[in-house]
Each structure stands twice: as structure tokens, then as C-alpha cells.
Amino acid sequence: MKPAEAIDDIADAPPEPRSALVRAFAVFNANKTSWVGVIVFGAIVAMAALAPLISPYDPIEQDIIARLQPPSAEHWFGTDMFGRDVLSRVIWGSQISLIVSIASIAVALLVGGTIGLVSGYIGGRTDLLIMQAMDVLLSFPSLIMGLIVVAMLGPDLINLIIAIALTAVAPFARIARAPTIVLKERAFVEAGRALGFSHIRIVLVHILPNLLAEVLVMGSLWMATAVRVEASLSFIGLGVRPPTPTWGGMINEGFENILDAPWLSIYPGLAILILVFALNMLGDGLRDATDPKLRGE
């Protein structure tokens, strides 16, 4: 028996045999629905990217003779009141949904995340003040706020992104702040200060990577909300202006003909539902994977 080492091995064995990442993946992997989310979301991204190649018709070109045709072999999802192919418009419409939701969440994540990180790290009265400002922002209902901002700025792509990002800044600030407060008290951050690291280095190199997972998970969940808000604004008539196809806008137009041509509303409605559902499944799986409570720690 090798005395010293043997004792070390028994009494002081490493408590975590696998890396956090591997365990997180195992949790994610065990949940089949999260994989459904990944695959469906991937398929929609591919559809958006390949829209020019896979859509059977031009989404904007009108064909008055073929207007309001029910689903058929030529037009799987039927045609709208201008004779445009609904399937092609659903395929192209995915682009706006994805661009607006990804861009607005990216902006919200960047702005809100920075606010939360800096606020939590500084602490004290500054933190209190910033977080109270975030609470004020949180007391604006997202749809109403988005609606008014877009109405003021005018409905176009950039303004939609700004409006939706604005509604999500406060939640991201909160999500980034909570772990920052815990992490800045951890000994490895104190060690960094004792070693003379700058605040910027401590925040960017030692705190940020440790909360990135949580923030990104919330990002995927909030993206589902962003898709819904964009669709809702478009449905109210505050989306990207026609003739650019958007799912919410298509429902808005089709709603007038709901009695005669329900397919105008049904297919884009299903498209929104599928994308939001996929994002929620994906986000749920990611959240379980990064939730320490579910890892049995």
C-alpha cells in the first residue's frame, strides 16, 4: 500500500467526476422534447435561408386570376386575395420572424446583460437605482409598449427590433445581475482582486463566462416571446409594411376573409405556433440542463 497517496485517494476523491458541460449535455439529451425543439428550429432556419430556392412561387407577384384559391395541387396552401401563393409567403415570412426575434433578443441581451452585469458588480446605491429603473421598465406591458413605440417611430424592420428589444432589456438586466451578485463574492473573484486584476478583466474574464449559460438560455426562451410579439404587432398592422410577407401580417390580411378563405389565417398561424413551440421546447431543455437543482448537486 502506498500510504500517502492511498489516503489521499480515499478521503479526498474528486467529487465531480464529469465536467459541468458534459452533465448539462446529458440532462439536455435525456429530454427528447428539447431535441425536437432543436430539429424543428433548425428546419425553420434552413427554410428561411433557402427561401429563394424552395419556395414554389414569387411571394410578392400578384396573379389576380388565381385569387382566393383553396389549397390545391398547384397551391398547397391556397392563394390570397391578390393571387399570391400562401405557401411561398409562409416560407418567406419565416425570414422576418427570425430576423426580428434574433436581432431584438441580441440587442436586449447585449444592452440588458451589460446593465445587469455592471449594476450587480458595482453594487450599493448605483445598483439600487439602476434596478429601480429596470423595475419601472418592467411595469410596461410588453405588447402595449411595443405597439406604441412602433406607432411613434413608424413600422419598419429596425423600429420593430428596437421596440421588441426595449421590452426585453429589463428582464435580461435582472437575469444577468442575480448571478453577478453571487459570483462577485466568490473567492476566485476576490483572488483576482488580490492579484491586481482590473475590474474590466474581472467582469469580462471571470464573471461573464460563468453567467453566460443562464443568460443564453433565457435568450432562447425570450426569443419565443419575441416571435410572438412581432407576430402580434404585425397582426395589429404594425409589422414590416406590406407587401413583404410576415406571418402576423398574413393573418391580418386573411382575417378579413376568414369566412370564405380560412386557409389564409390557418397556415401562417400554424407556422407561428410551430416556431414558438420549438423555441419553447429548446429553451426548456436548455434551462433544465443548466439548472443546478436538476443536476442532483
Binding site: 500517502a4 489516503i7 489521499d8 478521503a11 479526498d12 476523491a13 474528486p14 467529487p15 465531480e16 465536467s19 459541468a20 466568490r186 473567492a187 476566485f188 476576490e190 483572488a191 482582486r193 488580490a194 492579484l195 491586481g196 486584476f197 478583466r201 474574464v205 471571470h206 463566462p209 460563468n210
Partner: protein
Amino acid sequence: MASGNATETVLSVKGLSKTFVTKRGFPNPVTVTVRAVDDVSFAVRAGEAFGLVGESGCGKSTTGRALLRLIEPDRGAVTYRGQDVLAASGAELRALRRKLQIVFQDPYASLNPRRGIGETLAEPMRVHKMGDRAQIAERVKSLLAEVGLPPSAADKYPHEFSGGQRQRIGIARALSVDPELIVADEPVSALDVSIQAQVLLLLRDLQARRGLSYVFVAHDLGVVRFFCQSVAVMYLGRIVESGPVEEVFNQPAHPYTTVLRQASPVPDPRAKSIAVRIEGEVPSAANPPQGCHFHPRCPNAMPVCKTVYPAWTQLTPTRGVACHLHTPAGS
């Protein structure tokens, strides 16, 4: 004074104080003032391990952090080799950071879980521009060897190591900037007993090899007796007794030291002691008793102890105590 003189004082702490103000209670919060460190003074000589010992909550860890300015003290002076630590800023402070380092209690919280060990050890050297990439890589290897870890450890992550190994990595990180003094904040108390001795021997080995001084914060008297040359005993934010380890623990001058010694297990079974019961709860530092803080638990309490905090009395040039039993008559 020439450096290397064994009796030279390197770190001098005078009147260090830190008060925490918190609001407690819901829905009607009350402001609570905790004098975590109250007028603490001591001196650490070159190459010495100076122990700060006391029960949890006595302010010993806060003292260790305050003298590194990880917590900004409210009052007092900290001088390192003639340099004012509390006034330093900018480049001066960065230079001091290299000389004064810290090793933490919790080996799990003290390493960034998302950074490889090599990166953790190289980063301080890069920040302080201690050589080019190759030199730093070389120094990472020698640091790992110095604390008894294989070179392959550099490519691993904290979770792949045991508590004792992580503590060795924490020590290597402190050593990476070639410090002269290390504040060791309960460096072994979170470790399994069988590992404690290994880490203590490593620290003692480094003390001899590098000529390091330590401020060794601990609650375990046995560990302090083994590791330190001098010791200060703290109770509710104040130092109640200080002096050479053997003298303080063999002939305690303060009743609290006596009580502490009897409460801790004695390694020698023949040395039977009269059990002195610690009476009463540890009072909160938020609300210390009037007079001598220790009087409610003190077996020797006198009427004067309830009203007057005892003045510091120097018993010998190296020993001092704050207790009315030793206060010169008349004061």
C-alpha cells in the same frame, strides 16, 4: 534595516477598524452596526508565520482581508516594509498586490470553474508582465512542481481535482506573482484531516524555501500551534492576547485563551486538563456586552469587567493582553 533580518518587522497593523452597517428585519428593518474589526494592532516579522485565532465571527478573516484591501477598512494604518498600504493606489497598489497575496479557505469557490489550471496560473503573470509566453509557460510548470502537482495539471479544470489538490493550485496561484507575504485565510479548515497536514507541510516548506511571511487565520488551535511562531487571539473584533505561540498557549494570560485551549482537543492524552466549561452563548458582534466583551462567559469576571474595557498591557516585550487580571493596579 537590511531585508532578510529575521527580526525585522515587515507588516505593521495599527488601530485597524471595520464596521459593517446592514439593515435587518422585514417588514420593519432595523439598522444593525457590526464592529467586525475594532482597533486591531499587530506586527509580523520577516519570515514569520503570525496566527490570528478565534471563534467564527470574531473578525479574524475580515482583518486578513482588510489588510489586503479586499475590504476597505474604516480606520487604522497598514504598513508593509515602510509603505502605506491603505493609501496606495494605481501602479503603487498593483506593485503591492504582487508582494501581498492570499490563500482562501474554500478550495471549491476559490478557483474559476470555467478556466483551465494553466490559464489560472499564467493569468497573473501576464497581467503583471512577468515574461513572454514561453517563460510564463515554463513558470507555470515550475509552480505546479513546487506545490507537488504534475505538469499535466495545467491542462485540466478545477472540477477534475480533489479539495486538497485545489488548495495546492490556490497556493500556486498566490505564488505566481512571487509574493513576500501571504494571508492564509483558514487554508486547511475545509480539508479532510488527513489532507490538512500535507497542505500545512507544503506551506511550511514554502516559508523556508521562499522566506515567506504568513498571516495565518485559523480557528483551530492545534493547527496554529503547529504552524505559527506568533499568535494573536481575537474575540468579538478585538485582540485580547498576543505573543509567541508557545508562551500564549502554554501559559495563557487571558481567560478566553484558557477557555479556547481547553475547548480544543489536546494531542497528548497524558496532558489531562481540568475541563473549563464555556458558559453562555457567544454574544453577537452586533451587540457586544458592555465593558470587557468576554465578561459574561468569563470564569474570572470581576465587577470592573462589566463596565470598563481593559486596557492593553504589555507583559513582556513580545507579549501583551487586554484583561483586568493583568491591568497594573491603580488604572
